[in-house]
Amino acid sequence: MLEILELAASIGDKPILKGIDLTVPAGEVHAIMGPNGSGKSTLGYVQSGRDDYTVTGGTATFNGIDLLDMEPEQRAAAGVFLAFQAPIELPGVNNANFLRTALNAIRRAHGEPELDAVQFLKLARTATKQLAMPDDMLKRNVNVGFSGGEKKRNEVLQMAILRPKLAILDETDSGLDIDALKIVADGVNALRAPDFSALVITHHQRLLDHLVPNRVHVLAHGRIVRSGGPELARELEKSGYAGVIAEAA
């Protein structure tokens, strides 16, 4: 279970998050929606430990562990995974090696034996097949020369292989066509389990048709201004954020 209490964070002197309260129980998928600049991505980055954000108040715990006190790699080992809105290119780093290094680092942290290249490739090929990704994606350099859609799918591939307990998807649907959207949603749905939670940051109802959330939260000006069931997403799609934000103010 993810529990965020009174979380405040800033970049430099600029406050971005101004007291977020959010609980995602184990087994649930929650959506975060909101206009540009409302702090959605910051919420994701702060939980995965990007160091250009300063936490100025509040707490974030995952299954009782204080996330904010840990290094990014320790959070990953604890089961946190952030699917980047703009996945980073790593020229010269082979995708398969990258994934195996990451998986083995997490396995080491759990005291599990590392996988050799053959064992890993078997696992990776199964995952690429499920995500309808060509095998050669494993041979290429991480995200280099990938189309927008391929980059997003590569994030989902990483998630499928690392099997996190808390997945934060930062606009993973943007730039995807309908087929790719369905593949991404299926990728997350495949991980759904009683001990898996997800926070889905999105602008669009479309993804939520395939990846039905338990709760939807609207973020504006660094605060959650409204929460509701899946129907809230449809309401926003129809009438926009302005009404909801004005109502909360």
Binding site: S48, P72, E73, L90, T101, A102, L103, A105, A109
Partner: protein, 415 residues
């Protein structure tokens, strides 16, 4: 007591009449060396081409010509050699016992001394120094239309001595050769090599160099290349070793449509200093030159790249490109980059660029967010930077050997 230019000149005086080849040429070189001294030394004048690299530590060291003792065979066994002919020089002298000879086309400088036609002892102090004292070296000749395959030229040096190998490589019309040059050793020696390379019409030379000298040694290498019509000189230099090294290449694209690639990677730590200096002169139309030089600098190390492209008035449609990238792994590391373009033709495409940086913070976060610990993330990104540099080596087997040498370098850093 330091040997210095005076000591080397005295040695030359003592050896006069016993050194092979043209004695008038040696005397002229000695006069030039007397005038210039060692770059950065206390004698002689300041030389602009040596602005970033001073050979003062060479000028202040003591060198004995006596034969040193070192583990030649152990060093040789540790080198990333290919299963191909190898010509081995130990302490500057050809060693037949350790060599695996190519089918033909090899001669020793000691037997057939030839100083060639391309070098400028009067302009380059270290070439003058070599010309004055050179006693052995390899001459390789690949006949017209013949594929010479792979030949390895290995230098193993030792002691506190100075060595001045003199090599020449001739590829006749339409010939091809892959020359892999490896230098290593044990001791605080100076290896001061001069090589002259001719690539005739339509010929192709792939020249790979791995410099992995002892970390107390000095390595200076000056290469002159002439590429004729539609010929290709494709070179890659990997500098890993030596306390101080300078790799200087003068490449003349003298025939229309000829090509030169002068790529390099320098990976340094501690207080190592490594200088890669090139002068590419386009003197014929439609020629192409490419230079990508990458530096990975840790500790207090210093990397230098000086690259000059000269385009003569007749060299229209020249395509020249130069890029210098440096990754600084420590706040005390330093890189000096000096690109120079001198263009007299009006229809050319020449560009140069330089980037200097630390590891990318976003890339680091991406790796760490996937569970990869900080140290492992750093080494992943440094290896990636180097892997890109080694991409310039087309032959997969040779690239593997160079990667192995880089892995050994990593292992040494951890030890």
């Amino acid at each position: 007591m330091s040997t210095g230019a005076t000591g080397f000149l005295q040695r030359y005086q003592g050896l006069q009449g016993r050194l092979p080849g043209d004695s008038a040429l040696r005397a002229a070189a000695a006069a030039a060396f007397k005038d210039s001294g060692l770059p950065g030394g206390t004698q002689g004048r300041r030389i602009e081409a040596w602005k970033f690299t001073s050979l003062r530590p060479v000028a202040e060291a003591s060198f004995q010509p006596a034969s040193p003792r070192h583990e030649t065979e152990t060093i040789l066994a540790g080198l990333p050699l290919l299963d191909a002919p190898r010509i081995v020089f130990v302490d500057g002298a050809f060693c037949g016992n350790l060599s695996v000879m190519p089918a033909a086309g090899f001669a020793r400088f000691a037997d057939q001394p030839d100083f060639g036609t391309l070098t400028w002892p009067d302009r380059e102090p270290m070439v003058a120094f070599n010309t004055m004292l050179a006693s052995d070296g390899a001459a390789l000749h690949v006949p017209a239309g013949f594929d010479g395959g792979i030949a390895q030229l290995v230098s193993i040096a030792g002691g506190a001595a100075d060595y001045h190998p003199r090599h020449s490589v001739h590829l006749a019309e339409g010939a091809s050769l892959t020359l892999v040059e490896i230098s290593a050793g044990q001791g605080s020696y100076l290896l001061n090599t001069v090589a002259e390379i001719h690539v005739a019409k339509g010929a192709r030379l792939t020249h790979i160099r791995l410099q992995d000298e002892d970390l107390t040694a000095f390595h200076v290498s000056t290469t002159y290349v002439d590429v004729e019509t539609t010929g290709t000189y494709d070179s890659f230099t990997l500098n890993l070793g030596a306390r101080l090294s300078r790799t200087e290449v003068h490449a003349a694209l003298s025939g229309a449509g000829s090509v030169a690639h002068l790529n390099a990677a320098q990976i340094l730590s501690g207080s190592q200093h490594s200088d890669f200096t090139t002068v590419v002169s386009h003197t014929a139309p439609n020629c192409t030159s490419r230079q990508t030089v990458k530096n990975v600098l840790a500790g207090r190390s210093r990397g230098v790249f000086q690259g000059k492209i000269e385009v003569a008035r007749v060299a229209q449609k020249t395509d020249g490109y130069q890029m210098n990238q440096a990754l600084l792994l420590s706040p005390d590391a330093e890189v000096d980059s000096k690109p120079e373009l001198e263009i007299f033709a009006d229809d050319v495409k020449c560009s140069h660029g330089a980037t200097v940086g630390e590891l990318d913070a976003e890339q680091m976060f991406y790796l760490r967010s996937r569970g990869i610990p900080e140290g492992e993330a750093r080494s992943t990104l440094v290896r990636a930077f180097l892997a890109e540099a080694l991409d310039a080596v087309a032959d997969a087997t040779i690239r593997d050997r160079l990667e192995a040498a880089v892995e050994q370098w990593w292992a040494r850093q951890k030890a």
